[in-house]
């Protein structure tokens, strides 16, 4: 498969967009089915066999709805916000090493770029919230900003620990380093950083907060702020926000798979390939959904205290510990 350079990248990007769209649609189905199972009810079963056509029906419904710009809203920013939200998800996934050669962009600073794109998400939600001139949306925009800043730092510190353990920022090299049976994965490399599972947990919590999911869904708190930043969006505007949420979850989970669980490496050394990557990815995505339907929402200042008082000290401590271990080893 050796297409000349620009076409190979183009094919990858189109493939990625299809992957994100398919993911967004069918993760909604998985979420509603899982929520149903947890709550002892069947979930969607009417549309298609076991509700499989439900996402298609939702998509068609959203497409047929009119995209209304509320009066007095800042029309340009209002239309720009959905684009700004979906872009980082796509670009982040472009850097992700799905398989040995299944990699859109092999960039030496892969990890740094993923985080750079990740922070655009905050800007987009804020622009969306501010531009829709709705009091609930403005409150939610303010919350998004402070929440994501508070959780960017521990995430970066945890990623820094990883960078020291792996020695490189190039994602495919990080995965290559984790070759061999599963105890070679970074998660179990206690020789380099004895508190690696703790770093994994911190990274997982911060990823939840970054994507405004589950216990940290202050931005889109449906029982307080009606629908948060995208209250005023209808039709495909809301659809894109919805898709972006799932794209960000997939981005976060795939980043964790690459950094901690050895990307496309197989647990027993042989037959590594993209299927292992997808298996680990969807296990993590399932856990994100599982967390959402178990816990209530945290309170806003507890959320910030949790980050400033617990996550940041712990991640700093693991960073210094790893540095010390590297020095000693």
């Amino acid at each position: 498969m050796s297409l000349p350079e620009p076409f190979r990248l183009l094919a990858f990007l189109v493939g990625l967009m299809g992957f994100v769209a398919l993911n967004a649609a069918y993760l909604v189905w998985v979420e509603r089915k899982t929520a149903g199972r947890i709550q002892r009810r069947p979930g969607p079963t009417e549309v298609g066999w076991a509700g499989l056509l439900q996402p298609v029906a939702d998509g068609l419904k959203l497409l047929s709805k009119q995209f209304i710009v509320p009066p007095g809203a800042d029309a340009l920013l209002f239309r720009l916000a959905p684009l700004l939200v979906i872009a980082p998800g796509l670009m982040g996934l472009a850097l992700m090493p799905f398989g040995e050669s299944l990699l859109a962009l092999d960039v030496n600073l892969g990890l740094l770029m993923v985080f750079a794109f990740g922070s655009i998400n905050v800007l987009a939600l804020m622009v969306g919230g501010w531009a829709s001139r709705n009091k609930y949306a403005i409150i939610s925009a303010a919350r998004v900003v402070s929440q994501d800043i508070a959780y960017e730092i521990p995430m970066l510190l945890a990623a820094l620990t990883l960078m020291m353990v792996a020695g490189t920022l190039n994602l495919s090299e990080i995965v290559a380093l984790q070759e061999g049976p599963f105890w070679r994965w970074n998660l179990f490399r206690l020789d380099l950083n004895p508190l690696m599972p703790l770093t994994f947990l911190i990274f997982y919590t911060c990823m939840l907060a970054e994507t405004n999911r589950a216990p940290f869904d202050m931005a889109e708190a449906e029982s307080e702020l009606v629908a948060g930043a995208f209250t005023e969006y209808a039709g495909m505007g809301f659809g894109v926000f919805f898709m972006a949420e799932y794209a960000n979850i997939v981005l976060g989970c795939s980043l964790m798979t690459v950094l901690f669980l050895g990307g496309w490496q197989s647990p027993f050394g042989a037959y590594s390939g993209v299927w292992w990557f997808l298996l680990k990815l969807y296990f993590l995505v399932f856990s994100v959904i599982w967390v959402r339907w178990t816990f209530p929402r945290t309170q806003f200042y507890n959320l910030l205290n949790l980050s400033w008082e617990i996550l940041i000290p712990f991640s700093l401590f693991t960073l210094i510990l790893t540095a010390a271990m590297m020095k000693v080893m």
């Binding site: 899982t34 149903g36 199972r37 947890i38 709550q39 002892r40 009810r41 069947p42 079963t45 599982w290 967390v291 339907w293 178990t294 816990f295 617990i310």
Partner: protein
Amino acid sequence: MKNRLKEIASGLGSLVTGMRLTLAQFFKKDVTVQYPHQALEMPPRFRGHIELVLDEDTGRAACIACKLCEKACPSECIAVEGVKPEGGGKKMVTEYQLDFTRCSLCAACVEACKSEAIRFSREYNLAGRSKEDFHLDLLRRLEEQSKEHAARTPPADAGEAQP
């Protein structure tokens, strides 16, 4: 500092138990009834809208149009008209209108009726396009049911005429 760590540890513990419980529920059978495909059986004392009782021997409604139910109803939803047959005997009901949009199913009429002529039906599939759909003419309904009932007389139906 010590109890803060203990608090964090117990906090994590509670989160893990929460996750364990929801996973346990995940694998259990679901408890809901899929309404359009499966329907629940209504208990004998279920209160649907009232319906007239068929008097077996005369083959007509048992109601003697004494209007006790009309007086007892708090929201005036019953309108009864009756006529005295020339040959004497009990009055016959000629018209029994029930305005089900105002009825609050309080059983005042059923208890007020001395001749056991009305009872609660077990109807609950009551969708209608306009309010007039719920101005029910119980007499006509009774005639339709008895016609239907007569049409399929051979199977001994348990007296429960389902319209």
